[in-house]
Amino acid sequence: MKRIYVSEKWCLGCHLCEYYCAFANSGSDDMAKALMNRRINPRIQVEERGGISFAVSCRHCEEPLCVKSCITGALSSEGGLITIDKNRCVACHTCVLVCPYGTIMPSDDGMMQKCELCLKNTIGEPACVKYCPNRAIIYEDSDVPAAAR
């Protein structure tokens, strides 16, 4: 399965991935309207400290603890893509407690959201990858992606 890999060597810490993620999942076609004067709530988030930065989003684990632990069945695997049915989520935060990467977070309405590789929105390919200006985020179908070779 194609996955997102990030390379902290190339990450500029510009946070553009966060903005494009929030926009891609906003359902709006006007970036300014969707993001201006709002606290954005992206599914990919940049960690940074002392010159180091890297973006973190769902790893689509082979053994997804979030899916196995979800108390309602809201999380599931569709051929390796880990998706959430927000309608069935009750914000119990069990998935937050078990995700080893800290990548599942509440959405604007409090129910959980997570990276679905932009395969469930109208973009169809990960917006963070597409718009990262320094190619620090790649989308590859490989066990050992180019960045790690």
């Binding site: 996955r3 890999y5 990030v6 390379s7 902290e8 960690e47 940074e48 400290r49 180091i52 890297f54 973190v56 790893r59 689509h60 684990c61 082979e62 053994e63 603890l65 196995k68 632990s69 108390i71 309602t72 069945g73 309608n87 069935r88 009750v90 914000a91 119990c92 935060h93 069990t94 998935c95 937050v96 407690l97 078990v98 995700c99 080893p100 990467y101 800290g102 599942i104 977070m105 409090g110 490989s142 066990d143 050992v144 992606p145 960045a147 790690a148």
Partner: protein, 413 residues
């Protein structure tokens, strides 16, 4: 090869985990689920959300409506397994059916624990709160002017209070313990959550218990009397070890298994609330009545029954629960050196011992708590990471560059 006959007693998290485990490896075997409850598999924790109008019967299904079909399961719902015969390898049901098995999973869950209390038999409207039928019965009994008394300020009692808060006239919770949620929280955290719950109009009476009941009133050990219309008994739950124990399965407080969830009886497995788990943080064996644990144990059993799989050896207490939008997550055990931060509406306690994170409690800000849980689960030596950096805010930044690369730059496990 002859198709295997799998029989599962139970239809909840552990049972579903088992089906999904079996089907990862064996698409052909015949799987039968036997369940006393007549319902499609549902999320047990959601019964309080159902009372509160926050979910409905469709949405509280634990799996899609066509789950049994798509997973090739024959569901025998509304049937109780009365006994099992490990020599003949059969299970006898209440309607006289006898089911042969090659592999059997016992996933019979919990039963309510109701200690003997004087006068309890005189109370006409009394309920436990463990099943969808319990929730339905309670919904029928409670009206807008009902005074509800809940005995037990643990997770189930307090969740019941939250679920009923829009429906009942008044809510009182009593508990013998001096604090709420004694198995989950320490004293200070409990006080914070207690204040929040009391602000919602729930009356909490602690360090007292009911000495005697009459219909419509509880006489407490401090001499006071609490009148009520509806009584909910939420003192605790116990592993439901029958009928496996009667058939010779070894049980302490719960059924005893190895790390593949095998009991001492050949080809009989057990998973979920009916078992005892080995808690890696305290080194003790104890029942862990938790849904993720039940699923993971069930899946482990299913994989092994189908001829594969790996051992499950990462069990620990783990709770994620919210009361009126205040979120609480906790994991592990709390003996060791504690780092505590406490401010208005927030609480953070991290407990370390022997160079390992052993447990934590977070209230309010619970974001990315799973990073802490993974430190406990993976037994990460704290001197190999920059733990100071993440005491107030969990992050992957605490790991070395090499470990970060392994986490984010290559295919995940």
């Amino acid at each position: 090869m002859k198709t295997k006959q799998y029989v599962i007693i139970g239809n909840s998290a552990a049972a579903i985990g088992c089906v999904e485990g079996i089907r990862q490896l064996d698409k052909a075997g015949a799987v039968t689920i036997v369940s006393r409850e007549p319902h499609h598999t549902y999320s047990r924790p959601l019964i309080s959300y159902l009372l509160g109008g926050k979910t409905d019967r469709q949405r509280m299904r634990y799996r899609d409506a066509d789950f049994y079909e798509t997973h090739g399961v024959r569901p025998l719902l509304g049937h109780t397994a009365l006994s099992l015969d490990p020599a003949q390898k059969t299970v006898a049901l209440d309607d006289g059916q006898v089911l042969p098995y090659d592999k059997l999973l016992v996933a019979t869950g919990s039963v309510p624990f109701v200690p003997p209390m004087e006068g309890l038999d005189l109370v006409s409207k009394k309920f436990t709160f463990l099943s969808l039928d319990d929730a339905d019965a309670l919904a029928d009994a409670v009206t807008a002017d009902s005074r509800v008394l809940i005995v037990g300020a643990g997770l189930i009692g307090l969740k019941c209070a939250e679920g009923l808060s829009g429906r009942a006239g008044s809510l009182t919770v009593v508990d013998l313990a001096p604090q709420i949620l004694p198995s989950v929280l320490d004293e200070r955290a409990a006080a914070l959550v207690q204040a929040h719950i009391e602000r919602q109009g729930v009356r909490l009476l602690l360090s007292v218990s009911a000495a005697r009941f009459e219909d419509g009133a509880a006489h407490l050990t401090d001499g006071s009397t609490v009148p009520f219309d509806v009584l909910v008994l939420a003192v605790g739950v116990r592993p439901n070890v029958s009928p496996a124990r009667e058939a010779g399965a070894t049980a302490g407080r719960g059924l005893i298994t190895d790390e593949y969830m095998r009991t001492n009886l050949p080809d009989v497995y057990a998973a979920g609330d009916c078992t005892e788990s080995f808690d890696i943080t305290s080194g003790e064996r104890k029942p862990l009545a938790l849904l993720p644990n039940a699923y993971l144990q069930g899946e482990t059993a299913g994989l092994h029954m189908a001829g594969g799989g790996k051992p499950f050896c990462t069990a620990m207490p783990m709770n994620a629960v919210g009361f009126w939008d205040l979120h609480i997550v906790s994991a592990g055990s709390y003996t060791g050196n504690a780092y505590v931060q406490c401010e208005e509406g927030h609480y953070r306690k991290l407990v370390c011992r022997d160079n390992l994170l052993q447990g934590f409690i977070l209230i309010g800000d619970v974001l990315r708590a799973g990073i802490y849980t993974a430190l406990i689960r993976d037994r990460v030596p704290l001197d190999t990471i920059d733990f100071e950096l993440i005491k107030d805010k969990p992050g992957l930044i605490a790991f070395s560059r090499r470990d970060r690369q392994k986490k984010l730059g290559v295919k995940p496990a």
